[in-house]
């Protein structure tokens, strides 16, 4: 599969009568987005607000972040099986509004949504302080059931992103990057002397508010499978979960998966990037055993020399991570795992909820228990009503002036366990 990703760089976002892009500025029509979102009768309120890098703006509680992308050439449409029709994606050309995002926020049960600060001392922990964000604040209909509300929120974000991305369809990209992975035997033959490397992408799939979708299929219901890396760039994977904000893999992070991106950078130089194995993080131990067996089987079947494994979440997924690492290693494939850490407030406890000796090479995405201070901001998008009960917050953490203290966990994607950020932890 070969995909050309046409990048249109966005440096500013403004409201306008219609939605379009000109000279690096994304203009969005507020009314059209609000109308689009309110087509869903489960939602009774929708308000669009803008947040730009450096502004004194706080966004909370954030559900999902999405980069606007549109299919320009080739089969299928972005977010197949969810927004677009079910159909193979990953080939042809796709345009992306790089530097712009759609962010959904608003009240929800679960308290597992986070905060984004566009400036100040905590801005450096989230990638979305550097993007121009179109924020959609949603309100559920009275008495709307939790799952329905989650689903409505997810669709609102995706629909808005698809709507905004239409503006990119007929533009000439600032840069075109070509990604290509050939059918297995050809791919192996292309660089026969380089180590054959794969990537095990573990999708959050514990149920209620912890689901991820592949072509619209609930990830907890599939068995491990093989994916061309370019599929993910067209939105084959959509986030539908609200785990701890810090290690949430947003839809943006699926579209811009850093392991896939960097493996392509190394492809043909010091390694041969063969493909991606998708697996899940179910709650049944039988599922975990079966699926880690299958991951190891696929790794062996693909003839891999080494692979990387990433997880999403803490606790339950740590067991999948360790089972995968152990079984793949025992199958004779070299493994490096990437994850974040929760060593307690004093940083002294063991960081993960499970461990195996085979996990001897790990990359850290930082520890989420660190307490950080959030100064007051001039503008709030969303609500601060839940801060004390959001993960990382605590009773009494909020001050009169709008400032608060909370664990790093509360910031969206601050310790995301796929290596997207530069944050890491080391031992003192």
């Amino acid at each position: 599969m070969k995909l050309e990703l046409g990048k249109i760089y966005i440096r500013d976002v403004q409201f306008a009568e219609k939605t379009y892009v000109k000279d690096g500025t994304l203009y969005v029509c507020k009314e059209e987005i609000e109308k689009l979102v309110l087509e869903d009768e489960r939602l009774t309120g929708a308000r669009v607000e803008l947040a730009r890098p450096g502004e004194s703006v706080r966004i909370s509680p954030v559900k999902d972040v999405i980069e606007p992308r549109v299919k320009v050439e080739g089969n299928g449409a972005v977010f197949p099986g969810v927004i677009g029709k079910v159909g193979q994606v990953g080939e042809g050309r796709t345009h992306a509004l790089v530097g712009a995002t759609v962010i959904t926020c608003g009240k929800i049960v679960g308290f597992q949504e986070g905060v984004i600060d566009m400036s100040g001392p905590t801005a450096k922990y989230t990638p979305f302080s550097q993007t121009n964000n179109v924020c959609v604040v949603i309100e559920p209909a009275d008495g709307l059931e939790t799952h329905d509300y989650e689903a409505a929120g997810r669709m609102a974000g995706l629909k808005t992103a698809v709507y905004v991305a239409e503006a990119a369809k007929n533009l000439v990209p600032d840069e075109i990057v070509t990604y290509e992975t050939k059918p297995l035997l050809e791919q192996i033959a292309q660089y026969p002397d380089l180590p054959k490397i794969g990537y095990v992408h573990m999708l959050q799939s514990q149920g209620l508010l912890h689901d991820t979708y592949y072509y619209g299929v609930d990830a907890k219901k599939f068995i491990p499978t093989i994916m061309y890396p370019t599929e993910i760039m067209d939105g084959a994977i959509v986030s539908g979960n609200c785990v701890a904000p810090c290690d949430k893999v947003t839809t943006y992070h699926h579209l811009n998966n850093p392991v896939i991106e960097d493996l392509y950078q190394h492809h043909g130089k010091d390694l041969n990037f063969v493909g991606v194995i998708l697996t899940n993080e179910n709650v049944f131990l039988a599922d975990k055993e079966r699926h880690s067996d299958m991951v190891a089987k696929l790794a062996k079947y693909l003839g891999l020399d080494g692979l990387l494994i990433t997880e999403e979440g803490y606790g339950n997924p740590d067991t999948d991570l360790m089972m995968n690492c152990k079984k793949v290693t025992q199958a004779g494939v070299k493994v490096v795992i990437i994850t974040d850490e929760f060593p307690g407030r004093d940083g002294k406890s063991y960081s993960l909820a499970d461990a195996v000796p085979e996990a001897d090479t790990m990359v850290s995405c930082g520890q989420g228990n660190l307490i950080v201070h959030f100064p007051p901001m001039d503008k709030l998008i969303g609500t601060m009503d839940y801060v004390e009960s959001q993960i990382g917050g605590y009773a009494g953490c909020m001050n009169e002036d709008g400032s608060f203290d909370a664990e790093l966990q509360i910031i969206i994607a601050s310790t995301i366990a796929n290596g997207f950020n530069k944050l890491a932890a080391r031992t003192y």
Binding site: H210, A286, T319
Partner: protein, 128 residues
Amino acid sequence: MVTNNVRCLEKWEGKLQIDYNEEWAYLDVLLAARDYIHRGYFLLTHPLAGSVKPNQTPFKSIILSEESLEGAEDFRDLTLIEESIEAYHKFMGNRPLPEWSEKSVEDFRTIDLSLMEGVMANPIMNRR
């Protein structure tokens, strides 16, 4: 099922053998599961399923079985439950469970119940 969530009891009483105690804290559910494991039961669901951290939610439900569904290694379940108990103490030591409002408590019951509904819908449950 060992649980401290009354809504799980209401939903599956008579269908599952349920060890329910209203007074139990999250930790007590873990300890009860541990005791079952020592008596020869196997974990069906991961003790930390849900990824809501132990100092966040008061509720926990764990399903065990007298028969193992998979050829698990010896001590796997015991290691898992002990690690979970350790994780519980780590997070509670960090910051104890907040005094939730009844509305929030009910939300957490819902979260736990829904997680278990997902679990009960899994075909694995038909194998018993």
